[in-house]
């Protein structure tokens, strides 16, 4: 493995900017803390689940199925703490032909749970499940850029793309792109190369897995068994942890964090995340066509107040662009926009839109407390002379009938793998076609910058390009991004772990394989 890494590093020096992230991690072993200990039965309660959960990778996933998938299966590339890419089933990768051709060298000596060796044809199968005609996979739009995938011998997979994309290796870490056994379509059997083997799966109730004795990652998958338990009620999760019926749970209720922290047997894991909350304005609709009106709306919201009162302080104010410090190319030099009713009035006058009156559509579907946030915003904006009518929408069907349909609504974005995916989906003309660009932003310069950054191997130049993209969204976009939420998990003090990942709750949904009992 060290040989491959040194090869990688040479290429990175030669200009393959993104590879340096992977190459910088010379081995999978965690440097910090004592060595992981084996054993014990881990029990984790998960708040987000559905009776419709399945192990079909093409279906949208709840946190429950995502945790389960990563117990059973691996990706080509894994996202580690700090958003770093870690080689998983791919040992190394290399882009050429202006980042149009990607060659992945695959790990040798890895076997599936039934003993079949892992090869390149498994990779081809796993990607083609999403790409095939009539696929309902949400990953399909991302994979549309692939023109062909082929296996060259058992340990090399070659991807050809329509257009150059230096972020392509990062995409293979996506939720859904798990490596399945060639020809496997009976997904609920849970066959994979992961650290645990499926014993029992009752959607909407629980899943039980036991350790895979032949797991290829050393120091990972330390528990003898892991039980994932579906628990919708926040109080039930807290009670179960307090009374020792479980060892960890996700989505701690911010209102009761302080009470939980009093117990020495419980630890709260607070991680900065990429998840953000927003009141998107459609820039081609009504008053929002004027950038001054958009700016007025952005100055008329008291972000700190919402972070304090809706998120209980467990979050950070947003700055009207979708990047947080959890992203590599976050630009911290953009001045933080803050509540300023006078400036809001100034922009309203400039737009000739004094006494602006708008409807804000909201439901609790995007995030808990969305209605509270909207009502707080109404109060803040009133001081700037803006009247906001808060329209309460049904929770069911919110994403299909309100979001991306109303000129001003409430939205939540969980993190995306990298800047390219986030900006392409959410902020470009292509994103509008794909149904993700909620503000209809269509800025020529931005479209060009995002396309350029996609092909730029030099990290410094990419930083510059994405810096400008952030400034455009911050200055002219329709996104009123007021807060980033922290992830809050509660764990028993018996549980130990290394540095936590912030891409999903519970250590990037990989707590089962990364944690151990002390």
């Amino acid at each position: 493995m060290s040989e491959d890494v040194s090869i990688n590093r040479r290429h990175a020096m030669a200009g393959l900017g993104l590879l340096s992230a992977a190459a910088a991690l010379p081995s999978l072993a965690k440097a910090q803390g004592p060595a992981p200990k084996r054993g014990g039965a881990m029990r984790i309660a998960i708040a987000d689940f559905a009776t419709s959960d399945s192990l079909d990778p093409t279906l949208a996933e709840t946190q429950f199925s995502q945790n389960l998938q990563w117990q059973l299966r691996n990706n080509l590339v894994e996202v580690g703490p700090g958003g770093k890419l870690i080689p998983e089933l791919a040992e190394s990768w290399e882009g050429s032909n202006e980042a149009r051709t990607w060659v992945f060298k695959l790990r040798r000596g890895v076997t599936f749970h039934d003993g079949k060796p892992f090869t390149a044809s498994d990779v081809v199968h796993s990607f083609n499940i999403h790409r095939k005609e009539g696929s309902k996979s949400q990953t399909k739009p991302i994979l549309n850029q692939i023109t062909s995938i082929k296996a060259e011998g058992p340990h090399t997979a070659i991807f050809e793309l329509v257009d150059g994309n230096v972020g392509f290796p990062a995409l293979t870490s996506a939720v859904g792109l798990y490596i399945l056994k060639e020809g496997d379509t009976d997904f609920n059997k849970g066959m994979g190369t992961g650290g645990y083997i499926l014993e029992q799966f009752q959607p909407g109730i629980k899943a039980v897995v036991r350790r895979n004795p032949g797991y290829w990652k050393s120091g990972h998958a330390n528990f003898d068994s892991v039980e994932l338990i579906c628990m919708k009620d926040a109080t039930a999760r807290a009670n179960a942890l307090i009374t020792g019926q479980i060892d960890a749970y996700n989505a701690v209720d911010t209102r009761t964090v302080n009470l939980l922290q009093r117990s020495s047997a419980i630890r709260i894991n607070r991680v900065k995340s990429k998840a953000h909350f927003s009141f998107p304005m459609m820039i081609d609709q009504g008053p929002f066509a004027s950038n001054d009106v958009r700016l007025a709306m952005k100055f008329a919201i008291d972000r700190d107040d919402i972070v304090k009162r809706v998120l209980g302080g467990f979050g950070a104010p947003g700055n009207d662009h979708p990047l947080s410090s959890a992203y590599a190319f976050y630009d911290g030099t953009i001045p933080q926009r803050s509540y300023d009713p006078d400036k809001a009035r100034f922009h309203l006058d400039k737009a000739g839109a004094a006494n602006l009156r708008v409807q804000l559509h909201v439901s609790e579907t995007p995030f808990t407390g969305a209605t509270d946030a909207a009502v707080l915003f109404k109060g803040h904006a009133a001081k700037a002379g803006i009247t906001i009518d808060v329209v309460k929408e049904p929770e069911d069907g919110y994403w299909s009938s309100v979001w991306n349909k109303r000129p001003l609504c409430t939205s939540r974005w969980s993190g995306r793998i990298n800047e390219d995916v986030l900006f392409t989906l959410g902020y470009t003309a292509d994103g509008t076609k794909a149904g993700w660009n909620e503000t209809r932003l269509n800025d020529e310069r931005l479209n060009k910058l995002v396309a350029e950054a996609r092909k730029e191997f030099d990290e410094g130049k990419r930083r510059q390009l994405y810096g400008e993209v952030q400034r455009i969204v911050h200055g002219q976009g329709g996104s009123n991004i007021f807060a980033f939420a922290d992830f809050l998990d509660a764990v028993s003090s018996k549980v130990t772990h290394g540095e936590l990942s912030g891409d999903w709750m519970l250590d990037g949904c990989r707590a089962s394989e990364r944690w151990w009992f002390s």
């Binding site: 419709s52 996979s137 628990m231 009670n239 179960a240």
Partner: protein
């Protein structure tokens, strides 16, 4: 007994008709809700292409009427169908959940019904005395508290403070039946508390009603003890309304447990129904509703039969003329 058989037959026919109407109502109600399964499952990522592929695969692109008729045809062949959402057979999804719900209901009934009827009888025996006042007031409090509140109080007391019973019923593996009983104890107690008050008050009211009758005065004049008057003279004549309230509450124990199931993380039918409605998984919603409705229809039928059997006047109506 001929009239009982006739009643039974008539009620069965009505029952089946009721179930059919309910299936029609549920089907159209779920279809009136905004969004369908494809929207619900794909969520924010519902691109038009993915939604279309999903609908075609599930047959959601067919007209509502033909989907309903297909469903009825399957039911008549004894096939509950498959869940749209995860393609598992509904019978398999529902069977385990139904068993859990019924187990919980039976345990709650074992606590609530003897306690409710017994305390109700004692309350009439000691009518207008402190015991009567205390039980009726307590029952009123138990009825008035919402179930989730009762549940949290019980958890705070028995699990968190005293540590006697588990806080959630998650079917700990390898615990045996004692562990299973310990886990189900608090949910059953919560449900029992919700029901015991009704049974107590109805029992008391029914007996008190009869106590004004002349033959009770006769018994009192004979010098019978208050307990004997209530159990031998009043209770048999008050049985019919008591049976009715007991059975209606039994039905409630089966269909009204959603909140208790959520608070105690108990995998019963109520939680499945809520999940399925929010996912617009119509076949599962239909199956759950039919099971709930059938529970009511059958238990009502049972209540009628038992009422008739407990009342000689109803048992032999013609001979009385």
């Amino acid at each position: 007994m001929g009239s009982v058989a006739e009643l039974l037959a008539k009620r069965l026919v009505f029952g089946i008709a009721t179930l059919w109407v309910i299936s029609l109502l549920v089907f159209s109600a779920v279809n009136l809700l905004p969004g369908d399964l494809a929207d619900a499952i794909l969520g924010q990522g519902a691109t038009p292409e993915a939604v279309a592929a999903f609908r075609a695969e599930l047959g959601l692109d067919q007209p509502v009427a033909s989907r309903y008729l297909n469903w009825v045809a399957d039911i008549l062949h004894g096939d509950l169908g498959r869940s749209l959402a995860n393609d598992r057979p509904i019978s398999e999804l529902v069977a385990g959940r139904l068993a859990n719900t019924v187990r919980l209901a039976i345990l709650a009934a074992f606590i609530a019904i003897p306690a409710g009827v017994g305390l109700g009888i004692l309350a009439t025996v000691y009518r207008d005395r402190p015991f009567d006042r205390a039980t009726t007031t307590a029952s009123l409090i138990a009825i008035s508290f919402p179930e989730f509140f009762t549940a949290y109080i019980l958890v705070a007391l028995f699990s968190v403070t005293l540590g006697w019973l588990p806080a959630v019923a998650i079917e700990t593996r390898g615990g045996g039946w004692q562990q299973a009983l310990r886990e189900i104890a608090l949910p059953a107690l919560t449900l029992a508390l919700a029901v015991v008050g009704y049974v107590l008050r109805m029992t008391r009211a029914a007996i008190v009603n009869v106590m004004a009758a002349p033959y009770i005065e006769m018994a009192q004049l004979k010098g019978a003890s208050p307990l004997r008057i209530v159990t031998r003279h009043a209770l048999p004549n008050a049985l019919s309304p008591i049976i009715n309230v007991v059975i209606i509450n039994l039905a409630y124990l089966v269909v009204g447990v959603v909140v208790v199931e959520v608070v105690f993380v108990y995998p019963g039918l109520g939680q499945l129904l809520v999940d399925s409605v929010s996912k617009r998984d119509i076949p599962v919603v239909q199956a759950c509703c039919i099971i709930f409705a059938a529970t009511y229809v059958l238990l009502n039928l049972l209540a009628d039969i038992l009422s008739v059997l407990s009342n000689p006047r109803l048992r032999r109506p013609r001979q009385q003329v």
